[in-house]
């Protein structure tokens, strides 16, 4: 079975270390959430898994192969990224941007064939982006762009999708829609979905397991019920919150309380 495994990984930029001794695993059909305060290294982790930066220590494995031994084009067939606030060229059409997802499958001399177009069309259908396939990216809303980058990731036909803050800048409806889509893809296509999130409630509702980053390393990991509690959140974020079982599904729900009356 295909899996993603990080084994004692340290990541950083130059001499500055951002993460050390990070270990976790993810399996197909599993949605793994990465949570932690600002600057705790969530995006750095995604850069590491896509080999934009090399681990200083430890190894990252896809199946059993070290990703340092996989060339960039092969890696892009296995791992796709949905970046946070990506730069998208405004004059390109939505369709053309999704078509870029086929890049790792095409050589310099090959061209997009019927198969590639069918895959792009399916990716756009499942992300409900087909309706604006012909529009220019510059004319799209934030939510539409977000779905477009998900469609592009699907067009890569990857085994793993990494999503960096997919709900930032989206209203509550699009937040839910985006994560519903992510979970649906994860289950149906047996993908590994790794998603970094700020919102603890979304993390608890949507992720099967959570990895909590704090102080340059993994603070704890496990199912949401085991990870999200007032003490952990106090220790990791320094915020006073109340955690109680969600009235509908008993998953931990985090409530904030303002202290203006104190």
């Amino acid at each position: 079975m295909f899996n993603l495994r990080l084994d004692n990984v340290s990541l950083g930029y130059g001499k500055q270390t951002v993460l050390r001794n990070v270990s976790f695993e993810a399996k197909p059909g599993e949605m793994l959430g990465i949570i932690g305060p600002n600057g705790s290294g969530k995006s750095t982790l995604i850069r590491g898994i896509t080999r934009l930066i090399q681990p200083g220590n430890g190894k990252i494995f896809l199946n059993s192969s070290d990703i340092s031994d996989i060339n960039r084009q092969k890696l892009a067939k296995l791992v796709a990224v949905v970046p946070q606030n990506p730069t998208l060229p405004e004059a390109f059409t939505a369709f053309e941007v999704v078509l870029m997802g086929r890049t790792p499958h095409l050589g310099l001399l090959s061209y997009e064939g019927k198969k590639d177009l069918a895959i792009v069309k399916r990716a756009m259908e499942s992300t409900q982006t087909l309706a604006f396939a012909e529009r220019r990216v510059g004319e799209l809303s934030g939510g539409e762009r977000q779905r477009l980058t998900i469609a592009r990731a699907l067009a890569q036909e990857p085994k793993i999708i990494l999503m960096d803050e997919p709900t930032a800048n989206l209203d509550i409806n699009y937040q839910i829609e985006t994560l519903n889509l992510a979970r649906q893809l994860c289950r149906k296509q047996k993908l590994i979905v790794v998603v970094t999130l700020h919102d603890l409630n979304l993390a608890s509702q949507y992720c099967d397991r959570l990895v909590v980053l704090s102080q340059e390393t993994v603070y704890c990991q496990g199912i949401p019920q085991a990870v999200i509690n007032a003490q952990t959140i106090k220790n990791v974020y320094g915020a006073e919150v109340y955690v109680y079982p969600h009235p509908v599904n008993k998953l931990p729900a985090t409530l904030i309380v303002s202290n203006k009356d104190k």
Partner: protein, 358 residues
């Protein structure tokens, strides 16, 4: 792509339809090929001596093997057509194609609509090389193209070496290094021009560009550089598209960004140097042609690059024809024509379509 055709399928294994724009862009490429052929033939007949179309056609046919036509033309006409006009038209076409493709490539790589060979100091390097050539003793004038070529390529290489940080090449550093080196070289050029004395007129003519001294060996030398460079750039059209995202996304889509940058910068610089070393500096082609194509047919480099190649060739052949006929027998510098005709047309297009073109 017609959205209707995409929606109207009921099986999950959908039948993909090629986007309709692709068809119109392919027709545009075919149409431009024909237009280029027509342009070459028509401009061959125009000039100090107008050659009627019928005679021109017979002249061309007679050059084919196994065709024997009793000449109805003078030997002089044949020399004008084949030894003066044809090489000149071919070099103008090659230079136009090279400058348009190089402009498209620089703009794509820098993600900057104003990028052109000036950004890397290529043009200023060529100018300095040429000016040094003009100051050599008269019998060494033949070395001007070589010096211009060496100047262009070494300026770009210097900028590249300075901007490289470890194994990566940050594009902002590259532009800044290019602008600084370009200014430095331009300063030397200006000084040399002041002290050049009698060569000043020749230098200024060269700096404004001209095809008046074109001969067959120039075409023979420029052709392989320009054709090979253009084909290499065409092959990298898809990576260039993906690089319109940002470098991080391009890498995550499997592009070896540093390698693509090096290959494209190298190829674009080489074709620019091969073009300007014979005809001097011709501005504006590398800016207006790519943007005109983008305005009409969109920013997809797989179509943009071939269309820019053809349109650049057509545009410069027409501009050179105007340069040699407008005030005949005086030659108008071609740089004057390209800006004078090109700028208003481009402004017109810009007003027509007020939407994102890049």
């Amino acid at each position: 792509m017609a959205v209707e055709s995409l929606k109207g399928s009921d099986t999950p294994k959908t039948i993909a339809i090629y986007p309709v724009q692709w068809r119109s862009r392919i027709y545009a490429i075919a149409g431009m090929d024909i237009l280029l052929g027509i342009t070459i033939v028509v401009t061959l007949g125009i000039g100090s001596i107008d050659v009627p179309f019928g005679t021109l056609f017979q002249l061309l046919l007679a050059k084919l093997p196994l065709v024997h036509i009793q000449p109805t033309w003078t030997n002089n006409t044949e020399i004008i057509i084949f030894d003066i006009r044809l090489p000149r038209i071919l070099l103008a076409g090659l230079a136009g194609a090279a400058l348009a493709v190089a402009g498209t490539t620089y703009q794509g790589l820098f993600r900057n609509p104003l990028a052109d060979p000036y950004f890397l100091g290529v043009t200023q390097g060529a100018a300095l090389g040429a000016v040094i050539g003009f100051m050599l003793p008269a019998w060494q004038m033949g070395s001007i193209p070589l010096l211009a070529f060496v100047g262009a390529v070494s300026a770009a290489a210097m900028v590249y070496a300075i901007a490289k940080v470890g194994r990566t090449l940050p594009m902002t550093t590259l532009i800044l290094a290019g602008v600084a080196i370009g200014a430095f070289l331009a300063a030397i050029t200006s000084y040399l021009m002041i002290v050049s004395g009698d060569s000043l007129h020749g230098i200024i003519s060269w700096l404004l560009g001209s095809f008046s001294l074109t001969n067959w060996w120039q075409v023979a030398i420029a052709t392989p550089y320009i054709l090979v460079g253009i084909v290499i750039i065409w092959l990298y059209a898809r990576p260039l598209n993906v690089m319109q995202l940002d470098e991080e996304q391009a890498q995550q889509l499997g592009i070896n960004v540093e390698q693509v940058k090096l290959i494209l910068l190298g190829a674009a610089t080489l074709i620019t140097a091969a073009a300007v070393c014979f005809c001097g500096i011709i501005g504006f082609v590398g800016i207006i042609i790519p943007h005109t194509i983008r305005l009409i047919w969109g920013p997809d480099h797989r179509f943009l690059l071939p269309l820019a190649t053809l349109a650049g060739a057509i545009f410069l052949i027409l501009a050179d024809t105007a340069a040699r006929t407008m005030l005949a027998p005086t030659e108008v510098p071609i740089g004057v024509i390209t800006a004078f005709l090109g700028a208003p047309f481009f402004l017109y297009l810009l007003r027509q379509k007020k939407r994102a073109i890049f």
